[in-house]
């Protein structure tokens, strides 16, 4: 009885068959490995919340020295591509409306005169609120430029900054150092999730799942043989992306590679469990893929990749604890930049293990449910 419920020979045969069914087709072979790497390359350059190459419009009614000084500083500001001079307020509004400039500066006639009189010269800045985040950053940059120009106006080279700022782990705040570790988790998640969620559903759609059920194969064998290929492929995708991050992008890797590898495997395992659950309840491949999507997309959004988890309402923060990606992101970011000590890694590793155990058990129950 025991022999018939679990056999390594059968398991090996099953495993080989599963791997072949994914990798035999050269097109799917390419689609499994190529796009994640390509995406990593493209997105790591694209995903940035910095502000660069923006256009600013200026409507300068003042002929004096200080408005000239201010505009000149704008011209040489690195984040601005073009300063567009306009000669009416209406044109200024038009450029903002059309989204051609992110901010527009209106300098009034008495600007230089006010400064010369020892008063403040006030200029209005219209900011495009459709781009709320970049708009705020642009406004902050412009304020800094104005402060510089103002400091020159009052001949006040002192007025030292009351604070000194240091950014740890990433002194220059390179956005890519944040994006690449995060994308590693997300892209590995999607490839593992799609492969597993299709595994059982495809067999059911083609009708071969019934054949599998009447064969001597036991539920644990089905679960293991269906999870191993995705586990291998997902981990490989994750690993190669860590490699790209370290060797191509030169992101410092300061943590323990062994612990990261263990976390990666546990992470993929918990994703595989979710994928198998989806697969077990789906009748067709379409349902499986869409189900994977309906789970995967919210999971990514709540993982803390796009925005920090602590910005979310408390209930969602609790829910986020059940998302494997949330814990993995902390580990992978910590391992790259923060030289995270083992204690902190374990604090995020055991939730991963718990999630993996829970999802795989649920998957086994669901698959067995199919048997009856």
């Amino acid at each position: 009885m025991l022999a018939s419920s679990f056999s390594f020979i059968r398991l090996r045969a099953q495993f080989v068959k599963e791997v072949l069914s994914i990798l035999r087709d050269p097109r799917s072979r390419m689609v499994v490995f190529m796009p994640p790497i390509l995406q990593l390359l493209v997105f790591s350059f694209a995903a940035t919340l910095e502000v660069r190459n923006v256009d600013i419009a200026v409507y300068n009614q003042d002929a004096g020295r200080w408005s000239h000084e201010l505009v000149q500083r704008l011209d040489s500001a690195r984040f601005i591509e073009h300063v567009r001079h306009v000669d009416s307020r209406q044109r200024l509004h038009e450029l903002i409306d059309r989204g051609e400039v992110i901010a527009a500066l209106a300098i009034p006639m008495d600007f230089s005169r006010a400064i010369a009189a020892g008063d403040s010269g006030r200029a209005q800045v219209l900011v495009d609120g459709r781009r709320s985040n970049s708009g705020q950053i642009t406004a902050a940059y412009l304020a800094a430029i104005a402060a510089d120009a103002g400091a020159e106006a009052v001949m006040d080279t002192q007025a030292p900054d009351p604070v000194s700022v240091r950014h740890w782990f990433n002194p220059n705040l390179v956005y890519r150092w944040f994006i690449v570790p995060g994308l590693t988790g997300i892209l590995a998640l999607f490839s593992a999730l799609l492969i597993t969620s299709l595994s059982i559903a495809r067999e059911r759609e083609l009708g071969t799942f019934d054949q599998l059920l009447v064969s001597p194969t036991s539920t644990p064998e089905i679960i293991i043989s269906k999870s191993l290929p995705a586990l291998a492929i997902g981990s490989l995708v994750g690993l190669s992306m860590v490699g790209v991050g370290v060797f191509l992008f030169g992101i410092p890797f300061t943590g323990s590679f062994g612990l990261l590898l263990a976390s990666l495997v546990l992470f993929i395992l918990s994703v595989v469990g979710i994928g198998l659950m989806i697969s077990a309840v789906s009748a067709t491949q379409q349902q499986a893929i869409l189900g994977a999507f309906a789970i995967g997309v919210p999971a990514v959004l709540m993982s803390g990749f796009a925005t920090p988890v602590e910005n979310m309402p408390v209930i969602l923060q609790w829910l986020a604890q059940a998302i494997p990606l949330k814990h993995f992101l902390i580990i992978v970011e910590g391992s790259f930049l923060k030289a995270m000590p083992p204690g902190d890694i374990f604090a995020n590793l055991w939730p991963l293990a718990a999630i993996a155990l829970a999802t795989l058990t649920m998957a086994a129950i669901f698959v067995r449910g199919r048997l009856q």
């Binding site: 919340l49 200029a123 209005q124 406004a139 950014h167 990433n170 349902q287 709540m302 920090p308 910005n311």
Partner: protein, 389 residues
């Protein structure tokens, strides 16, 4: 080439009689496809449940406005001014301040992610304050592994220190050049107002590209596409029959999402509903065309799903200006974004919701979406024909 065309023309009258465009046949096809779509619970999940979940998440979970950022204050100085500065930190709305007396404790919490930054009020704070200038008063340390949050921490913390110092009334001179920013279209600067219109584009991409790619790929995979093609129905009828239900589904989903955005999440709709529907309808052309193209190239659901994910969904998310500003991307990637229909749709959606009917924005975007749609349909048609030979 010409000869071939001529002979094709000669054959046409006969073919035409057989394969004429027949509205009744089309209606039957549309009916069949609609039933098929509606009977599958996963279609409804994607078209109506996922949009609600996504909009909810964009309204409450994904917020670029940093609130409750956890920062530590390390109070090394026992003086009264240091206490009052620490109290100023505790009083800010946007920071969730925790106190410590040892900077090593705070440093450890920065590594574990418990804190996003900390402020050190040094032992000789009172002396530095009396000195005025020279040495900085406090040190701000941020967690640079989250650059955006690090920026917030820096700016807020600086702001707290500055306003605290202004409150002390140490003659801080008035700024000679003062800018008065006004945020148009989104005066409250809620990032959700900018994000939710974009989320609608993501939903439409999923329905248009993902769902269509899967549905048509399934027909190819099962061989039923060839069966349908060999019936008297024309290719146009078959394609319209397949795509029309998803077009309608996408439009309904847009309407539902827009209603949810306006009534539940307080996003204003400053433009007209007609403009919104027009933009959505035109966006469906490239979305459906891309789905069709993917399915006829892949002809298998696994491949179709992967390709749709990597060419449709993820680019709509990352390269469309939805979360990340296109201007800030390097030039080669900016050229890639020009091929992504969601880019034009998201810009228009933000405008129609937040700014109003600005046709100077809409018209170029509509043209671009239509052109990309036409390109996708042409390629799909070519790919389909080649598949049959």
């Amino acid at each position: 080439m010409n000869a071939v065309q001529q002979s094709a023309n000669l054959d046409q009258p006969q073919a035409m009689r057989l394969r004429r465009f027949d509205p009744r046949r089309l209606a039957a096809l549309v009916y069949k496809e609609s039933l098929q779509a509606l009977r599958d619970p996963s279609t409804l999940l994607i078209a109506f449940v996922l949009p609600v979940v996504l909009l909810l998440l964009f309204a409450y979970a994904v917020s670029l406005d940093a609130r409750n950022v956890r920062i530590g204050v390390v109070l090394e100085s026992p003086g009264a001014s240091a206490e009052s500065l620490a109290a100023a930190f505790a009083g800010t709305r946007y920071l969730d301040t925790r106190f410590a007396h040892d900077r090593r404790v705070a440093a450890g919490k920065l590594v574990s992610g418990e804190l996003r930054g900390y402020v050190v009020i040094p032992q000789d704070f009172e002396r530095r304050l009396a000195q005025r200038g020279g040495e900085p008063l406090v040190q701000i340390i941020t967690d640079g592994s989250h650059p955006n949050t690090a920026n917030y921490v820096e700016n807020y913390a600086k702001g707290v220190v500055q306003s605290w110092r202004a409150g002390l009334d140490i003659a801080t001179p008035a700024q000679a050049v003062a800018l008065e920013p006004r945020y148009w279209f989104n005066a409250e600067l809620e990032s959700r107002r900018a994000l939710i219109p974009g989320a609608i584009a993501i939903v439409m991409t999923i329905i248009g590209t993902m769902l269509t790619a899967l549905v048509v790929a399934r027909e190819w995979e099962r061989g039923t596409m060839e069966a349908v093609l060999s019936t008297p129905a024309t290719v146009a009828e078959i394609l319209i029959g397949k795509l029309l239900p998803y077009f309608v589904l996408g439009m309904l989903s847009t309407l539902g999402s827009a209603a949810l955005a306006v009534f539940a999440f307080n996003v204003p709709l400053r433009g007209s509903l007609a403009a919104l529907m027009l933009l959505s309808a035109v966006f469906m052309a490239p979305a459906l065309g891309q789905g069709l193209l993917i399915s006829s190239l892949a002809r298998n659901q696994f491949l179709a799903a992967q390709i749709a994910l990597f060419t449709g969904f993820l680019p709509a998310f990352m390269l469309s200006g939805f979360l990340y500003e296109i201007d800030a991307m390097p030039e080669p990637i900016r050229s890639v974004t020009r091929l992504i229909p969601a880019r034009y749709f998201i810009e228009s959606l933000k405008t129609v919701f937040l700014a109003g009917d600005i046709w100077a924005v809409f018209i170029p975007n509509l043209l671009a979406m239509a052109a990309i749609g036409a390109l996708f349909f042409m390629l799909a048609k070519r790919a389909t024909r080649k598949n049959l030979e």
